[in-house]
């Protein structure tokens, strides 16, 4: 891996496992009274959010603070960005302020890639979700959650595990990042959606595709429901909300078709009554809240590895955090 985390496709199997293993160690922290590590003391991390996102932004912020980084929240709303300042000028400004890493959420697909490739700033770029492209730290936290339930243990991957992702794949950056990462980790991914919500060319993606949720459920180890925006109905992606729910929504009856060990996941925010009923969302098999907690650990691991000096796969990879304190923290 490189200096940046822009796409889950950039992660080799070793990179991904290093992040997951590091996250597992860092997760121990959350059980302690003092949850802070000094690792990123004196380093500046900017959260550059061009799109509203309470969850992801808060998760990154908690992760950064637990690593003792100086955190700057640069929200596009109410800043010069909303007055027409370009991405380039914003980046140059952050560079001048000495940002060591920029966590960017942007409504335009490819904006983090532009930042990473440009000479506008020299720090690490971490993609916190770009348009309908990717959301790599979400995929990492999903993989982390799946591993804990389906193949727990440091160094373990997801070989042979069957992951079913249901919903608006066309517009989902979560689905794109997940198919890359889960495939890298050896899982078998099946997308389930109405044909209108699948991208052209998906037959060449490393996954299976089905239009029939019920037939896939018994062969699923982890089921991930994607949010479906009600407005999609107005662009004729499906006829009505009710029809979508009937054909592709997760409910108690369908949950009973899942194998005993299978988990139900959702990246949030959930639209209850649309893609998931309250019965499923509130069931013990649903890992939504757990995913949020895991998100902090995984983001800490990413920041730690990108900024803490460890080199991912293309160098002599550190299999454990190199500098201070994680061992001590245990």
């Amino acid at each position: 891996m490189k200096r940046h985390l822009v796409s889950a496709a950039d992660l080799s199997r070793d990179d991904a496992l290093l992040i997951l293993d590091t996250a597992e160690e860092l997760a121990q922290l959350s059980g302690r009274a003092v949850k802070k590590l000094p690792t990123l003391r004196g380093r500046t991390v900017v959260n550059l959010f061009f799109e509203d996102s309470t969850r992801t932004k808060t998760s990154f912020e908690v992760a950064e603070k637990r690593l003792s980084a100086d955190v700057i929240n640069f929200s596009a709303k109410g800043s010069s960005v909303s007055k027409g300042e370009s991405l380039k000028d914003t980046a140059l400004t952050l560079q001048a302020m000495g940002a060591d890493a920029v966590v960017i959420r942007h409504h335009a697909s490819g904006a983090p890639a532009r930042l990473a490739q440009s000479d506008w700033l020299h720090g690490s770029v971490i993609n916190a979700g770009d348009g309908t492209h990717e959301h790599p730290t979400q995929a990492l936290l999903d993989a982390f959650t799946m591993r804990r339930h389906l193949n727990a243990g440091a160094g373990n991957d997801l070989a042979g595990r069957r992951v079913t992702i249901v919903g608006d794949v066309l517009h989902s950056r979560v689905a794109r990042s997940n198919v890359h990462l889960l495939t890298t980790l050896g899982a078998q991914v099946t997308f389930v959606a109405p044909p209108t919500l699948l991208p052209i060319g998906i037959e060449n993606w490393p996954c299976e595709v089905s239009y029939d949720l019920d037939s896939v459920l018994p062969k699923t180890d982890a089921l991930m429901m994607l949010r479906v925006q009600r407005e999609r109905m107005n662009a004729a992606f499906f006829p009505t909300e009710r029809e979508y729910s009937r054909r592709y929504g997760m409910n108690g009856i369908r949950m009973a078709q899942l194998p005993e060990h299978a988990i139900v996941m959702h990246p949030g925010p959930m639209v209850r009554g649309m893609e998931i009923t309250a019965e499923v969302a509130d069931s013990p098999r649903c890992t939504v809240v757990e995913q949020v907690a895991n998100g902090v650990s995984v983001r800490m691991a990413v920041l730690y590895l990108l900024l803490g000096g460890a080199v991912f796969a293309d160098g002599p990879a550190d299999t454990a955090p190199r500098t201070d304190s994680v061992e001590n923290a245990q």
Binding site: S86, L87, K88, H106, H107, A108, S109, G110, A111, A113, R114, Q117, D130, G131, T132, H133, E134, R173, R176, P199, I200, G201, I202, N204, W205
Partner: protein, 444 residues
């Protein structure tokens, strides 16, 4: 006898030694009084300037059916002067200036202004294209007849940048311009199928999460338009055809004997949507870069004549409109100064087209489509001396800083492209000499 002269005018005569006319055997050409005075081997004539053209190709001055000169309105991107200088550097002696300026070229006044600016610049004939509809809005026909009768003598009409998607309006426009031998040049893009479109819809757009511009949005309009043209017996020109399916439709229309012509851009002959993986907006263009299969089909169609012309769709944009995230970037690429090199690389060096074919697709046929009587003529004695002298042996990386165009949005930066324009002559006057712009003295 120095090849560089302080000032050229139509009184300067030229003797070009050992040039290969349309790639044929080396011959000398004598240019004087605006015409080709003599052609032969070892010509014993006096001339003011003698050019050693050993190894170089002579082609008739290139004619571009599709150029955005941006003036009036976006002089920060291009002016008629800088745009025609770029054209001359690329070997063009005539360009068709598209109508999507501000104000739109939808009245006799605006087309005359653009035409006059071209005359004053003196680097290249500027033939304004008139808008089909008022303000390019697709609602009401512009005064097509008035634009034709103006000093600009408009014969090509286009809402380029937008599609005349209303079938009735398109039918009427096709019919109406028959009265003065006009042609409607259609930007084929079904608007509903391309809402939010950012790139070619296919494997790459799916992976990148960018809104898709499906081939069918182009092909469905072309299919409708060739049928409309056939129904009313009119002439139709298809702008920047970009897909293998479009080629098939045009081929079918031609097989029926319908009066349909088509153009392809240099960038669609060379680049594919794989370039978009960089998210660098320099590759953002409309119609979008397509797949390798489309590129092959376009090359083949240009070679067999299904596609009549190479047209640049030269679309200058200021730096800030490309130095940004993909979604907000402007669409378009500059292309005048690299067109012939791209055609050499994709068509000549691949053996698909010889230099005679290049002359046909980049000069003869586009001149005929635009009804430009003084351009696209044979390279023979007595003809107007609209010529380009091209060195096909040159190899070098494209350097945008050397461009004459005011903008730098080229997808070929740093790319090795073959060939270089050595000289361009507009009615016997050098507009480019020894690879550099010659100073012009205004209208002849």
């Amino acid at each position: 006898m120095n090849e560089r002269s302080e000032r050229t005018s139509d009184t300067v005569s030229y003797l070009i030694r050992n040039a290969k006319i349309l790639g044929g055997a080396p011959q000398d050409l004598h240019l004087a009084d605006g015409v080709i005075r003599a052609i032969g081997t070892g010509l014993a004539v006096e001339a003011d300037i003698e050019i050693d053209a050993t190894g170089m190709i002579v082609l008739p001055g290139l004619v571009d059916l599709h150029t955005h000169l941006r003036e009036p309105g976006r002089e920060d991107a291009e002016t008629v002067l800088t745009g025609t200088q770029a054209a001359a550097m690329g070997g063009f002696t005539a360009v068709h200036a598209m109508a999507n300026t501000t104000p739109v070229a939808d009245t006799a006044g605006v087309v005359e202004q653009v035409w006059r600016l071209g005359q004053e610049a003196g680097y290249c004939d500027v033939q304004p294209v008139g808008a089909v509809t008022v303000g390019l809005e697709g609602k009401k026909l512009a005064e097509l007849g008035a634009m034709h009768e103006s000093a600009a003598n408009v014969r090509v009409f286009s809402d380029d940048g937008k599609c005349v998607d209303d079938a009735v309006l398109m039918r009427r426009a096709l019919e109406y311009v028959k009265a003065f031998d006009g042609v409607v040049a259609q930007h084929a893009q079904e608007p509903r199928l391309t809402e939010g479109a950012q790139m070619n819809e296919g494997q790459v757009s799916g992976e990148l999460g960018l809104g898709g511009w499906p081939a069918v949005a182009e092909e469905s309009i072309i299919a409708r338009d060739v049928l409309l043209a056939a129904h009313v017996g009119s002439r139709l020109h298809v702008c920047h055809l970009s897909t293998a399916g479009s080629v098939e439709i045009v081929r079918w229309a031609k097989s029926k004997g319908w009066d349909v012509t088509a153009e392809v851009t240099p960038h669609h002959l060379l680049l594919t949507d794989e370039m978009v993986r960089s998210y660098d907006p320099v590759y953002k263009v409309n119609p979008p870069l397509r797949t390798a299969e489309d590129v092959q089909a376009l090359r083949k169609a240009l070679a067999d004549g299904t596609i009549d012309a190479v047209a640049t769709d030269h679309a200058p944009h200021p730096a800030e409109d490309k130095d940004c995230e993909w979604a907000v970037a402007a669409m378009g690429m500059v292309g005048l100064e690299t067109a012939l090199s791209v055609v050499q690389q994709t068509m000549v060096d691949t053996g698909l087209l010889n230099w005679e074919g290049v002359a046909d697709r980049m000069s003869h046929r586009p001149a005929r489509i635009g009804r430009l009587s003084g351009h696209g003529r044979p390279v023979s004695v007595g003809e107007p001396a609209n010529l380009v002298l091209f060195d096909p042996a040159y190899r070098g990386a494209v350097n945008p800083d050397s461009f004459a165009t005011r903008s730098r949005n080229t997808p070929y930066k740093g790319m090795d492209l073959p060939g270089r324009v050595h000289a361009t002559f507009l009615r016997g006057r050098a507009t480019v000499l020894a690879g550099e712009l010659a100073e012009q003295g205004g209208p002849e």
